[in-house]
């Protein structure tokens, strides 16, 4: 895989913390943006992003590419994304293993895929096309899901491994998503963690979730829970240098709170690095 590794700890760029990142005061190694929020023609969003980029490497994380769409990718979307990539020169460009759009209908939600041979063929073709149009290797993130399809031919981790091998993409592993989906669908999160192809992982997401009536919901509005920290600690010794970040999209606390939470990640990663060295 031709994607350089970057070891560090970051946060998502969210409005309450814009001033800290524009000034370069926030003690993080990189910043992640939601790509679509900045795929606009001009104005304050683009100016803020340019100023943040002056201080930090930026990872671009998308939610609307829809790499699982059976009717292919949206060329206008790819053109806009490429323009932003060319301006920002991001650390990574990522999106989700999901679909959001079909035949002109855009759900704006990360909808689940059946892990079938047919879906794998479609996703591989879409990811290869996207990488070609964007001129770079993508990272694909495992989603949280609330439906598992009976017709699946393989597990999610087998699907992702095959996708990496066939398309050459890398992985963004969302540890909270593994925990949420494992709880919702009754599979073993540890087995998933142990099966992640470590050499493909370049970025890690950590987040909180909400306990719903029937399932766990990936809400990004709470601190990372203890079980997710445990999974992170189990995963890290298997990886090389990766960019770890905490996603917080709702009930966003002061930056200091998130930096303290990020220190937990630093400590866990530091411990596992020491173990590797020993």
């Amino acid at each position: 895989m031709d994607l350089p590794a970057f070891g560090g700890f970051g946060l998502g760029l969210r409005k309450p913390h814009y001033a800290d990142f524009i000034d370069g005061r926030a003690a993080v190694d990189f910043v992640e943006i939601i790509s679509e929020n900045f795929m606009v023609d001009g104005g304050q969003p683009r100016r803020i992003l340019r100023e943040v980029r002056d201080h930090y490497p930026v990872a671009m994380h998308g939610v609307s590419m829809s790499i699982g769409s059976a009717d292919g990718l949206d060329p206008e979307y790819l053109t806009r994304l490429r323009q932003l990539i060319d301006e920002i020169e991001p650390l990574f460009v990522s999106d989700h293993l999901c679909w959001t759009r079909i035949e002109g209908f855009n759900s704006h939600d990360l909808l689940p895929l059946p892990y079938t041979i047919e879906a794998l063929d479609i996703v591989c073709a879409n990811v290869s096309l996207a990488q070609d149009r964007l001129g770079r290797t993508m990272l694909i993130e495992n989603p949280s899901s609330y439906i598992a399809f009976d017709e699946a031919d393989m597990s999610e981790w087998e699907f992702l491994d095959a996708l990496c091998q066939r398309s050459g993409c890398g992985l963004l592993v969302d540890v909270n998503n593994i925990f949420v989906s494992a709880q919702n669908h009754g599979f073993d999160a540890l087995a998933y963690i142990d099966a992640v192809p470590g050499n493909r992982v370049r970025q890690i997401h950590l987040a909180g979730h909400t306990v719903g009536e029937t399932m766990l919901i990936d809400t990004h509005d709470q601190p990372v829970c203890a079980s997710v920290w445990d999974l992170y600690a189990r995963l890290m010794p298997r990886l090389g240098a990766v960019a770890t970040m905490i996603e917080r999209d709702d009930d966003i606390p002061p930056l200091d709170v998130l930096l303290a939470e990020l220190k937990v990640a630093r400590d866990i990663a530091g411990t596992t690095t020491e173990r590797r060295a020993a």
Partner: protein, 247 residues
């Protein structure tokens, strides 16, 4: 079932929420279907609440959400960006409130401001005005500038609500008046204009139209007024360039 068929079924479920669509999925999928349905509608509603917060404050939550339900039902989202979902909401509100034009007008103002906020950047005017040949001058307005017909005193209502003041009672105003919305640097602004200034904007927007041409069209009696408009456009930061149309 092919992936395309499955995705069409999911689209139909999200769009309609009907039991007929739900039964196309396995029994084990039913709880998850409810979560996706809720996410879909909640996200679109939150988008409209955020995009039209002043209109929401004017209408009140119950009436606003009745309009949201109707809008979501007849306007499934099509763009890759959620930011565009509110584009047709002013039209929905006009259909909902045909006798209360300030409702649709308020939404029109909010949508125009949001569009101006992310419109292409334009450098401030740097020309030396004393050296310009005004007869052949082509006025280039900032790309964020848009013109909107209004039937009510919605601009005053918008300003009052945004400032946390008691809004005025709704009132009709001459249909010939309009509103211009634009962004100067990073500040989005609007201003009411009379029909003759509106006509001037439309004239100057034509390919090849010059300031001299506008002077000739208006006639000598209106030259002073034209000078006032030009001064106002410069103060507004609505002009980004003045080119020589003859070159």
């Amino acid at each position: 079932m092919s992936l395309l068929s499955l995705q069409r079924d999911m689209r139909d479920w999200l769009d309609t929420g009907s039991a007929e669509c739900a039964v196309r999925f396995a029994y084990s999928a039913q709880p998850g279907l409810g979560i996706y349905q809720n996410n879909y509608r909640a996200q679109l509603a939150a988008c409209l609440e955020d995009s039209f917060s002043v209109t929401l404050a004017w209408l009140g939550g119950e009436a606003f959400h009745a309009a949201i339900v109707a809008h979501v039902k007849s306007n499934p989202p099509t763009s890759w960006t959620l930011d565009l979902y509110g584009e047709n909401f002013p039209a929905t509100l006009r259909r909902f409130y045909p006798d209360d034009p300030e409702v649709g007008d308020l939404a029109t103002i909010e949508w125009a401001l949001s569009e101006a906020f992310v419109a292409p950047d334009a450098p401030p005017l740097s020309a030396d005005l004393s050296t310009i040949d005004w007869d052949g001058a082509k006025i280039e307005f900032v790309p964020s500038l848009t013109i909107h017909p209004l039937a009510s005193n919605a601009p005053a209502i918008w300003s009052a609500i945004s400032a946390g003041h008691e809004p005025p009672s709704p009132a009709l105003r001459p249909l010939s008046e309009a509103l211009i919305v634009w962004r100067s640097e990073e500040t989005c602004r609007f201003r009411s204009i009379a029909s003759d200034e509106c006509d001037a904007f439309h004239f100057l927007a034509q390919p090849g139209a010059t300031f001299g041409g506008l002077c000739a069209t208006l006639g000598e009696s209106q030259v002073e007024r034209l000078g006032q408009w030009l001064g106002q456009w410069l103060v507004d930061g609505a002009i980004t360039g003045i080119a020589d149309a003859t070159q």
